[in-house]
Amino acid sequence: MSFWDFFEGLHTLFTQQWDTSLVRVLLIFVGFLLIYLGYRQTLEPLLMIPMGIGIVAVNAGVLYFEAKEAAAGNLFVAPLISDPIELMKYLQLDFLQPVYNFTFSNGLIACLVFMGIGAITDIDYLIAKPWMSMMLAAGAELGTIATLPIAVASGLTPKEAASVALVGGADGPVVLFGSIRLAPQIFVPLSVVAYVYLSLCYACYPYMIKGLVPKSKRGIKMDLKDIPKISPGEKFAFATIACGVLSLLFPMGAPLFASFFVGVAVKEARINRYVELLSGPVLYGSTFFLGFTLGALLSADIIMNSTVAKLLGLGMLALFLSGVGGLAAGMIWMKFSKKPFNPLVGIAGVSCVPTTAKVAQKCAFESNKLAMITPYAMGPNVAGVITTAILGSIYVGIVPEFFK
């Protein structure tokens, strides 16, 4: 027994191929960076701290199984196992394997997050301004639409292209849901890219807004008295009917629609114990395991996939185009609106609830201290969740058949 046998993590670092070792060290630094940025609240701490710790631990804790000549691995999770006998072995060996197999690969964790989002989402402004909300949200799906052919042109398969295009919807659970069904081979890097980029929305969108919208337009004051009050009964009726209609139209997306609208329905039916359950333990429990497991999935062998670099570029392009689409839709709506309309409301259609609505308000406030647009921005923000889920269902349901 040599000295190195006592410290297998270090041993594997020196005995693996040099490029694998280098990527492991880089990923450990990336993990520390995410933890730091999460701690400083520059990025979303709810996700980044567990994700960063997962990345650090999984890339540091590499060991050899059984014999020295066997492949190196970790005791966290093995996502690419498909053989049932092999899977049973890993379910007993890797501590996050049950979480991955029983909540990730069937989309359960995405649905749990959606239930929690539904239970904390206020749909008042969507109901009060349905045409404006839905049209602006549709405009802000430009990245989700336009990235698909661009990704195909860059060499990805249509299913992979559809998965990466969904990043443009800026809705993490839909990216998880879509990629696990369409392209499980890129699910891990794509999900990590999506969640890191969603955090970056908050940091990058203000610069895009300032670059594309003149200051005079950014500071337009809107009339808040124009928004009618909506009763819980109306919101409850909408949630239940929309769930039925959308599930009828897109059965592939029915789990997502059911999860989101059941959250909205229990909130509007004032079933407070369910609301507490969904908005507390379910939402935060699933967000924690989502971040931690995604981090633990990001080992060197996964990131060394040649398509990862493409995913990084295409994911960013998708979010950029969605932001541009939202602002363009806002400008068009402003042109045709009879009342004063702030075009920044359009970027809230990128459905990163409530981040993009907050970004829009922050930028409006910087231009005019009296410009209060949050209530208007929440309409397209919530509508964006619905349009992204619709597009996710269209991609999951139609892409495999269309490109057969």
Binding site: L126, I127, P130, W131, S133, M134, M135, A137, A138, E141, I145, A146, L148, P149, V152, A153, P158, A161, P228, K229, I230, S231, P232, G233, E234, A237, F238, I241, A242, V245, L246, L249, A383, I386, T387, I390, L391, I394, Y395, I398, V399, F402, F403
Partner: protein
Amino acid sequence: MVVARSVEFAFIAYGLLLGIALVVAAMIKLIYWAVHRGSKTQPGEDKGA
């Protein structure tokens, strides 16, 4: 070939999305109309038990 087909798909998907978005918006308006039809209550007011 596959790129041209993906462009075609993008147009179909966007058209479908716009259509469904309009249906959802119309559905909301319909619910609003149904709730307040013949009612003297103001929008936002519950009729109560």
